[in-house]
């Protein structure tokens, strides 16, 4: 399976990446190499293997519904590019 430049462009859009034509060509080549590499897995016979949901053989890890301290607001907002002291501020969003 080879990825087309259009497919890579679509993935780039989903990831909010703006690629120049040259970058798109490079990425398409590199991504196809990665996919090819992973495709080696097709050589393994998985007929009797159960699908794996998680690599660790554990399940049912829960925590109790108990309060733990949250961050002070000024600390929570400290790394924000923009804030009014109460909220994170972002450019206006058009739906």
């Amino acid at each position: 399976m080879a990825l087309s430049a259009e497919q890579v462009q679509a993935v780039a859009l989903l990831a909010r990446l703006r690629l120049t034509d040259e970058e798109l060509a490079v990425m398409t080549g590199q991504l196809n190499k990665i996919v090819e590499y992973v495709e080696q897995l097709h050589e393994v016979d998985t007929k009797d293997v159960e699908p794996l949901a998680h690599p660790l053989p554990i399940s049912n890890v829960f925590r109790e519904d108990r309060l733990r301290p949250s961050l002070p607001r000024d600390v929570a907002l400290r790394n924000a590019p923009d804030t009014d002291g109460e909220f994170f501020l972002v450019p206006p969003v058009l739906d």
């Binding site: 989903l14 399940s59 890890v61 519904d65 949250s70 909220f87 969003v93």
Partner: protein, 502 residues
């Protein structure tokens, strides 16, 4: 109730997608408080802010509540369930993905029975129920300004309930939501408050039009932005009419145009086109590597089933039948939750007339809970103690006025009603000779009252009698037997003035 009297050449087909917030203390994957209305960005931590290197851990209570809801909705419970990342960019989603469930939701294929207009019931199928995290809240900017993001809600537990397209009228959609709310409130899964957003509902609707002996399906439209059950009903009714007119005009069928999303405009009472999806959204789901799967054991299921016990629809009927209270009261009591209904039953068993229990529960008790922000479990007066108090009204030992005073002190001090009544001398004065003497004394001291009574007519004359009753109550510090006072005052006024009561 579903009503469909209008004869139309089409059938309405409605499916709902409902999101409810779970009544946990903390968020789904971190220990931040799960509460509506706190100051913005005060219930946040590195996990729900989506900082790198943190590890989410599933809240056990959230999973139990989700199981409880799914079992109550008659769903098949998956023995093996896992979570997935749903990837999209939006400022209220700090991680740029939502932890949700994709191909292995914890439950599927259930149903909810709803009452129909003809007194029967109808099953609305549930396709799936899954557990996911909520996003934060984006407050849209004024023109030109910046938008504000509050992440208190980010990561709070959310149940997504998707129905089959089994509802065939706007009223049925509303009834479904009412029954769902009753069930989830009673089971203490969610408070289902649409105003506060703890229940949110989107609808998919289209028509099956009878045309030249064939059934034609119109394009499915998703309707959003409905903020009350009434709005859901109104939006569905509007949308059905609009789709029929559009079909008459364009003849467009299902599959011929891209799916449209429309928003309900409450003020104009219309739906407004928001967008047409040219392509299905690509959320690039993949298994959430930070969470391990959950295996649901038979023991876990047994536990959940035993927590549910009697279903609210059955309990509502039983309360009305067993205690002889109005169906409306029974409905409200059950809707206030299992613990509230349990309290009612213990309280009512200690009374002569259980209607007094529902009155006290829905008035005095409910008012106190609201004022103090308590749940019924936090209410300091045990049901036997409250029954002790109210049964004293039934036995005419105290009047309602005095009982309210005792009730207030019981909440404050937790003391027994008998002790408070004795200490404050609140025993009802119901000795006829004693009260008659007080009536005579009051009338002797207020001769003007007799003049007024003679002069005034009808309602005005009755008001004079009311004024005298007030004087007697003041004289007895509110302890007099109100019914007896009324009779004695009326008799004395008529006797002294020689004019009738009306």
């Amino acid at each position: 109730m579903a009503t469909s009297t209008e004869a139309t050449p089409y059938t309405i087909v409605i499916g709902l997608e409902v999101h409810v917030q779970l009544l946990t203390e903390t968020k789904l994957f971190c220990g931040c408080r799960n509460r509506f209305g706190d100051p913005p960005n005060t219930n946040v931590c590195p996990i729900c802010l989506g900082m790198p290197g943190v590890l989410p851990v599933m809240n056990q209570k959230a999973f139990q509540l989700a199981l409880r809801a799914a079992v109550a909705l008659n769903c098949q419970i998956a023995r093996f369930t896992k979570w997935d990342r749903k990837n999209y960019y939006y400022p209220d989603l700090p991680k740029n993905y939502q932890i949700s469930q994709y191909d292995l939701p914890f439950s599927h294929d259930g149903y909810l029975e709803i009452p129909t207009a003809d007194g029967g019931t109808k099953r609305v199928g549930i396709i799936r129920v899954h557990l996911e995290e909520d996003a934060g809240k984006l407050l849209h900017a004024e023109r030109g300004g910046k938008s504000q993001v509050d992440l208190n809600r980010a990561g709070t537990p959310l149940l997504e309930i998707v129905t089959k397209p089994d509802m065939n009228s706007p009223a049925e959609a509303r009834t479904f939501l009412e029954e769902l709310r009753l069930l989830l409130r009673y089971l203490e899964v969610s408070d289902c408050n649409m105003q506060e957003g703890s229940l949110r509902c989107d609808a998919n609707i289209n028509l099956h039009v009878q045309h030249n002996g064939q059934t034609v399906a119109t394009p499915i439209v998703e309707v959003k932005n409905m903020n009350s059950f009434k709005a859901v009903e109104a939006a569905m009714a509007y949308e059905a009419r609009r789709q029929y007119e559009e079909w008459l005009r364009t003849g467009a069928k299902l599959g011929e145009v891209p799916k449209e999303t429309r928003g309900w405009d409450e003020n104009r009472a219309v739906t407004v086109s928001q967008r047409r999806k040219e392509e299905a959204s690509d959320y690039r789901y993949f298994p959430e590597p930070d969470l391990v799967p959950v295996v649901v054991s038979e023991q876990m299921l047994q536990e959940v089933r035993s927590q549910i016990g009697e279903f609210p629809a059955q309990r509502r009927l039983r309360l009305a039948a067993e205690y002889g209270i109005p169906e409306y009261d029974a409905r409200v009591i059950v809707e206030l939750g299992k613990a509230f209904a349990d309290y009612f039953e213990q309280f009512a068993r200690g009374l002569e007339n259980p209607k007094n229990a529902s009155n006290w529960m829905l008035q005095d008790v409910q008012r106190t809970l609201n004022a103090k922000g308590w749940t019924i479990e936090q209410f300091p007066v045990r049901p036997e103690k409250l029954a002790d108090l109210v049964s004293r009204i039934e036995r005419r030992e105290i009047n309602t006025h005095a009982a309210r005073e005792v009730f207030a002190e019981m909440i404050e001090s937790g003391r027994d009603p008998g002790a408070i009544i004795a200490e404050r001398g609140l025993t009802m004065v119901s000795d006829e000779q004693q009260l008659k003497a007080i009536v005579d004394q009051v009338l002797d001291e207020n001769p003007k009252v007799l003049e007024d009574f003679k002069k005034k007519k009808g309602k005005k004359r009755k008001q004079v009698a009311g004024f005298v009753r007030g004087l007697i109550m003041r004289q007895t510090k509110g302890r007099a037997d109100a019914a007896l006072v009324e009779r004695l005052v009326n008799e004395a006024l008529v006797a002294r003035t020689g004019v009738p009561l009306e």
